[in-house]
């Protein structure tokens, strides 16, 4: 028996890899996680890239992480704390502002400043969207059945899915009307969807933001309404749709997971980039790493996106042709960039009244859906948006661990930024030009912003790919469009976390239910591995 033999190897120490590893370690398996970088966490990290400041330099806010996973892995015990934020705001060029709050009635009052009709419609809107959140919640935990299979397991799974939708009882299932509402919600564009509720441009623009973050869709693209749901279905402390900061940055999530993993005998090896999967007789038996080590295991679970898993570390000859072609055609498009900024003091945003909790969370300055769609049109041409949609927040306002007293850390997420920049692609100069452009955009709303900047880090989709290993820098590891969701994710026919290569599994965000710091793909994949290994499973999640 060769040395370095384990029960399971997990490739990649992102949050899904660590979730899967922790579940399997808890079930008593000997698990090793191999990570290419010398730090842990993938895109959920806190890094001190400038002395004195901690950057959540990829993902920056938390909501989607499933509460069952937090409980099962006892993440609170290992130091995770989520601080909900109280509101969000859109600043307007005329000096006005638009705010949303944690508190429903405050939000209604705030909307009423812009439109009485919208304030009323917001009641209807929040009811309908929360209903959709409730409908999708149990689906997140399910392994999508293979609809073409006649195996009892899949037939039963399909029945479960159908039952969930078709139960007669209003409380358990949906009526005819709700089924239509659901289909419409999943297929419409956010613009059309919001137009059924609201009249004022600012209301629509503020709400539509969630529907474009991270995607290569515009607010007019059918299917963007679903992306909104994807950003709404999370919860903080049981409050659905809320967002919060992880204390100490997003890295605390993965650090807590690692704590759980280590306590249950798991092991994480940084600086061990997996170069290829070792196969024998058409089965995966181990992996080889960059530094020449080989590891062997009964099961291999990949936390890489579907393209990296099958086009990079697996050899094409081990896979069916059709499958390879589907993987090649999988859409994974970078559309987002980021600026991480170290500030000497809190910048002024004169639009937002001082002390208004609306300024405590995410801030934006896109006033109309038309501007947003224009930003998308730029991206389609291979340019960064001249008038971008930004999602900026200053976590250090509520979390003193991010920067020294009085200093602040600001995270600016930018939509849209292409991976393939037209006219020659990215280089250092254009990257800096892009960074300056964003800083200019922000300083239009904050006169003292530029003077307070101590240091900033510019991240284009290219950096996301090179550093974190997200193909094309797509934050969801694959577009969240109808052709790539549920049964179709990552590839139709292989949505059950298993792959055509025996003993090889995939647990990344390329699988159902998709991206965001959610952990559900990891937990679902772990369940399937444990099922195949006949290991009894424990936890709330299952």
């Amino acid at each position: 028996m060769p040395k370095n033999t384990h029960d399971v190897i997990v490739v990649g120490a992102g949050h899904n890899g660590l979730t899967a590893a922790s579940y399997m370690a808890k079930a008593g398996l000997d698990v090793v996680v191999l990570e290419k970088n010398d730090w842990i966490g993938g895109a959920a990290v806190s890094r001190e890239l400038y002395p004195g400041w901690k950057y959540s330099n990829c993902s920056y806010v938390c909501s989607l992480l499933r509460p069952e996973i937090m409980r099962d892995l006892e993440l609170y015990k290992y130091g995770l704390q989520i601080i909900p934020y109280e509101g969000s705001a859109t600043m307007m060029k005329n000096g006005d502002y638009y705010t949303h709050y944690h508190d429903h009635d405050m939000t209604i009052n705030s909307i009423r400043r812009h439109s009485h009709k919208d304030a009323e419609a917001y009641e209807r809107y929040s009811r309908d969207v929360l209903r959709q959140c409730k409908i999708i919640k149990p689906l997140l935990k399910m392994t999508p059945p293979d609809l073409t299979s006649f195996k009892p397991k899949d037939l039963f799974g399909a029945l479960e899915f159908a039952k969930h939708f078709a139960a007669k009882d209003e409380l358990d299932g949906l009526g005819e009307k709700e089924i239509y509402d659901t289909i419409r919600f999943y297929t419409m564009s956010i613009r059309d969807y919001l137009e059924e509720y609201f009249e004022s441009e600012i209301t629509k623009a503020h709400l539509a933001g969630s529907a474009i973050i991270g995607t290569a869709l515009g607010p007019c693209s059918p299917g963007s309404a679903y992306v909104l749901l994807h950003h709404y279905m999370g919860e903080v402390d049981g409050s659905v749709g809320s967002w919060g900061y992880a204390r100490g940055g997003m890295g605390s999530i993965t650090q807590a997971m690692m704590g759980c993993l280590k306590d249950h005998g798991g092991e994480v090896k940084p600086s061990s980039e997996v170069t290829n999967v070792i196969t024998k007789n058409g089965k995966a038996i181990g992996v080889a790493t960059q530094n020449g080590d080989e590891y062997y295991a009964k099961k291999i679970v990949s936390n890489l996106d579907v393209k990296r898993t099958f086009l990079k570390i697996t050899e094409e000859k081990d896979l069916p042709d059709d499958f390879v072609r589907s993987v090649k055609n999988f859409k994974i498009r970078g559309s987002s960039g980021k600026l991480n900024i170290a500030l000497d003091a809190l910048p002024d945003f004169p639009c937002i009244p001082e002390g208004d909790p609306g300024g405590g969370g995410d801030m934006h300055f896109t006033e109309t859906i038309e501007e947003m769609e224009g930003a998308y049109d730029d991206w389609k041409r291979g340019e960064w948006s001249r008038n971008p949609y930004v999602d900026m927040c200053i976590p250090s306002k509520s979390d003193p661990t991010m920067a020294e007293p009085g200093k602040h850390y600001m995270s600016v997420f930018i939509q849209y930024v292409p991976f393939n920049l037209a006219n020659g692609g990215w280089n250092e100069e254009r990257k800096q030009e892009f960074g300056r452009h964003i800083v200019d955009c922000i300083s239009e709303f904050s006169p003292n912003f530029k003077d307070l900047i101590n240091h900033y880090e510019v991240r284009t989709p290219l950096e996301l790919e090179n550093e974190v290993g997200l193909t094309e820098g797509n934050i969801f590891q694959g577009e969240l469009t109808m052709d790539q969701l549920m049964f179709n994710r990552p590839v139709p026919g292989y949505a059950q976390y298993r792959t055509p290569l025996k003993n090889m599994y995939i647990c990344s965000s390329s699988t159902h239910p998709g991206g965001g710091v959610m952990g559900a793909p990891g937990a679902n994949a772990a369940r399937e591995v444990l099922l195949d290994m006949n290991v009894p499973q424990k936890g709330n999640y299952y």
Partner: protein, 505 residues
């Protein structure tokens, strides 16, 4: 009150679906009256609006007792500025050959692509011929229908089932870029996928539009595109003749003001001139929005229905430019047969997408896509009948202020392919979507009386709860293109509606 209460059915609007519906009802011995607001029946099927028609399906023609019109197949030609046009006829071997002169890989891929799409369009077609089932009303026939539809898809086989599931929400640009390298071919197919719709080639859902189009055009990409011998209006003329022989009464210039509602049931119609006509069933061939808001009146609608209809998307994006000519212009590298073809100007996917971008917010793009058709007027003078997309329904500046400029920019595009076009033009006429709205009483001026997008298809067409040709008012039915399966000059809506009405008798 005139003594007219002995009609079995009144059909409001004599478009082709209304005519089909009327004929089917009359053949079942119903007394039918058609009220047409315009001077003649036929709606948008005429020589000015319609350039090409799909063949009438056997199901429709047999329920009418046969259609005696002659279909002339038309070739499609994608114009290229360099003169390297692509000509496609819908025959697999010929098309393979003509594409292989550009790229042998594309030619082979085209065959596979065509075969796959054709298979899926047949499956989609099987959904079209019957009224959509209702779900959850515990009726055996509805469950059976659902089961049958599911089975149809399942019978495609594992691989195709998965592919079909993926394709429903896909955008056409991705699929074309995965398959083909020639941008002109990509542009041509993308053009046909977004034609008549509010989607760009990169909008998810644009692929299903193409499948839909194929389903009514002989399940073929470029086959099944016809003109009717003697003019496309022969189609409706023939239907009108049939009406006469089936004793359908037709009132023209008889604009209906509203439905007469008694005891929550539609019992008749009131014409603009005050005349009231009564019948057992009222069938509306007008678009859903007008049906609900004008015929029914918002006082008869609950808020939920009102809201849904209000947000029913039916803004047209297609304009027509008609150029009367003194002689035919010479198109670069085109012979007489080419001039008899459907000439498409859509050089690439990006070109179409750029045209689409401004239209999303009712702005004008001066580089639209064109589908050019050479016709002859009654004096045998040639004219160019050009379908222009995407022309906004209304523009910020007002159509009357930008029309001239728009016409000139279109002619400028044509001059790239036919340099002497300017010397041939005698007279220009632009018909915008809002002109269509006014002239043909179609709200939004939309071809299909409503967008063909997933949330407005099948059980949700035109709106959930009214997808079985019945409206929310007893006795009032719909038979227009706004209902399942939608427009495209097929008459299927009219046929399905007739069945729903007959079932209700």
């Amino acid at each position: 009150m005139s003594d007219n209460s002995n009609f079995d059915a009144i059909i409001i609007g004599g478009g082709h679906n209304g005519l089909v519906c009327a004929n089917i009802l009359a053949r079942k011995n119903k007394r039918v009256l058609i009220c047409e607001a315009r001077k003649e029946c036929g709606g948008m099927v005429n020589n000015e609006i319609t350039n090409y028609v799909p063949p009438v399906t056997t199901a429709v023609s047999s329920s009418l007792g046969g259609m005696q019109v002659n279909y002339l197949p038309k070739t499609t030609i994608a114009l290229s500025e360099t003169g390297q046009h692509i000509r496609l006829v819908g025959n697999q071997h010929i098309d393979h050959k003509s594409i292989s002169t550009f790229s042998s890989q594309d030619a082979d891929r085209f065959n596979d692509f065509h075969e796959k799409m054709s298979k899926f369009s047949k499956t989609l077609g099987s959904f079209m011929m019957a009224s959509p089932p209702r779900i959850m009303n515990n009726s055996f026939s509805d469950y059976f229908k659902l089961f049958k539809l599911g089975l149809n898809v399942r019978l495609l086989g594992k691989k195709n089932f998965n592919e079909f599931a993926r394709m429903i929400g896909l955008n056409i640009a991705d699929e074309l870029e995965d398959n083909f390298e020639n941008t002109l071919l990509q542009g041509l197919i993308a053009h046909d996928s977004v034609i008549g719709s509010n989607l760009g080639p990169r909008s998810p859902g644009s692929l299903i539009n193409l499948l839909y189009r194929m389903a009514i055009h002989n399940n073929s990409l470029f086959g099944g595109i016809f003109q009717i011998e003697g003019g496309n209006d022969q189609f409706t003329k023939h239907l009108i003749e049939k009406c006469k022989s089936n004793n359908v009464e037709i009132k023209t210039s008889a604009s209906v003001k509203n439905c007469i509602v008694e005891d929550d049931c539609a019992v008749g119609v009131e014409l603009i001139n005050g005349e009231k006509v009564y019948a057992k069933k009222i069938i509306s061939n007008v678009d859903p929005r007008s049906t609900y808001f004008s015929l029914l009146g918002s006082q008869n609608l609950d808020t939920d229905v009102k809201r849904k209809i209000k947000h029913h998307r039916s803004k047209g994006r297609v304009a027509k430019l008609i150029l009367d000519l003194n002689k035919l212009p010479s198109f670069n590298n085109c012979d007489d047969i080419d001039l008899d073809s459907r000439m498409v100007v859509a050089p690439s996917i990006d070109y179409i997408e750029e045209t689409f971008n401004p239209s999303k917010f009712d702005k004008l793009s001066l580089e639209p896509t064109l589908e050019i058709c050479v016709k002859k007027d009654s004096d045998q003078n040639p004219k160019l009948d050009i379908q222009v997309q995407y022309a906004p329904y209304k523009t910020d500046q007002g159509w009357e202020n930008v029309k001239e400029n728009y016409i000139e920019s279109i002619i400028k595009i044509i001059s790239k392919y036919a340099p002497n076009i300017n010397e041939c033009i005698e007279h220009k006429k632009l018909i915008t979507p809002d002109d269509i709205e006014l002239e043909y009483n179609v709200s939004g001026g939309h071809w299909h009386h409503g967008e063909i997008q997933i949330d407005q298809l099948f059980m949700m067409r035109p709106i959930p709860g009214a997808s079985q040709y019945k409206t929310h008012l007893d006795g009032l039915f719909m038979c227009g293109a706004g209902t399942h399966p939608g427009g495209g000059l097929t008459g299927i809506s009219g046929k399905n509606a007739a069945k729903a009405v007959l079932d209700d008798f």
